[in-house]
């Protein structure tokens, strides 16, 4: 299974005041709080951790079929940041996920998978976040057909085999990211 999450940094700066009293402690473990407070760019670190948690959360939600709001139960670890790329792990009780992230000046995008091999044959498509994004995706990709709603669960159908492939969509502010897999199916 795959999951992604994107934060538009400009939008986040307007929408969220993570420095307000009590905020950080509600979403970050003591270790993660230290990562944020000691980082050269605390905002970037916070939203990196947040997208990692949210990307992993999407996998858990699909597995269990239920939604829950428990950022503290998703624990980020083994963080490795190199300029515009980051990697790490997110653990959720007995489950563990691998995450790769892109750190841009204007946004952060994280992708979570269950196993290292799931990163292979994974595609990433950035699109304009307007209502026609599905049509735009389908114009660019003749092999797959994307359906579903912006708030609902997306479905990606292979045009030759008819099989449903693993797909995850995230949008925030000015950005929208779609990830999908050539090898993983929706049910995997």
């Amino acid at each position: 299974m795959i999951g992604n999450d994107l934060v538009d940094l400009r939008q986040a700066a307007i929408e969220s005041n993570w420095k307000r009293k009590g905020y950080l402690a509600k979403i970050c473990t003591p270790e993660e709080q230290r990562f944020v407070l000691e980082a050269p760019k605390p905002d970037e670190m916070l939203w990196l951790l947040w997208t990692m948690k949210e990307a992993a959360c999407k996998i858990v939600q699909r597995k269990t079929g239920t939604r829950s709001y428990e950022p503290l139960n998703f624990c980020c670890g083994l963080l490795n940041i190199e300029q515009t790329k980051a990697s790490g792990t997110v653990s959720y009780f007995k489950d563990s996920f691998l995450v790769k992230s892109e750190l841009k000046n204007t946004f952060i995008h994280s992708v979570a998978v269950s196993e290292m091999k799931d990163f292979e044959q994974l595609h990433l498509q950035y699109l304009q976040p307007d209502t026609a994004y599905k049509a735009a995706f389908n114009n660019l990709n003749s092999l797959y057909h994307l359906t579903g709603t912006l708030s609902g669960i997306p479905e990606l159908t292979h045009q030759v085999t008819g099989r449903k492939h693993a797909v995850s969509i995230s949008h925030h502010g000015d950005y929208l990211a779609i990830i999908y897999s050539d090898s993983l199916l929706l049910a995997d």
Binding site: E15, Y69, S151
Partner: protein, 89 residues
């Protein structure tokens, strides 16, 4: 009116007031009821759910623990959490 129903209505209007600054969807906010979801109906960003939890803590003078927060995705469960915390006090 039954005291319990009245209390629930007061709490719902407090939830509505707290949620208002975080939603752009005024129509969904006007129609807010027990079954309203913060994320799917009010289109509130998940990072702002923390703000709603913190605002409700301040408003009611309660402390919302991690387990309670995990359920607070819609008005009904938020109402239940607040009622529970208020009776504990």
């Amino acid at each position: 009116m039954d005291r319990e129903i009245m209390d629930r209505e007061i709490i719902i209007s407090a939830i509505k007031e707290v949620a208002a600054p975080y939603t752009q969807d005024k129509e969904a906010l006007d129609q807010l009821g027990e079954h309203t979801s913060f994320i799917t109906d009010l289109k509130i960003n998940s990072a702002n759910l923390v703000d709603i939890v913190l605002d409700l803590e301040e408003k009611f003078g309660i402390e919302i623990d991690n387990d309670s927060m995990s359920k607070m995705l819609d008005v009904k469960s938020t109402l239940d959490v607040i009622e529970g915390k208020l009776t504990e006090k």
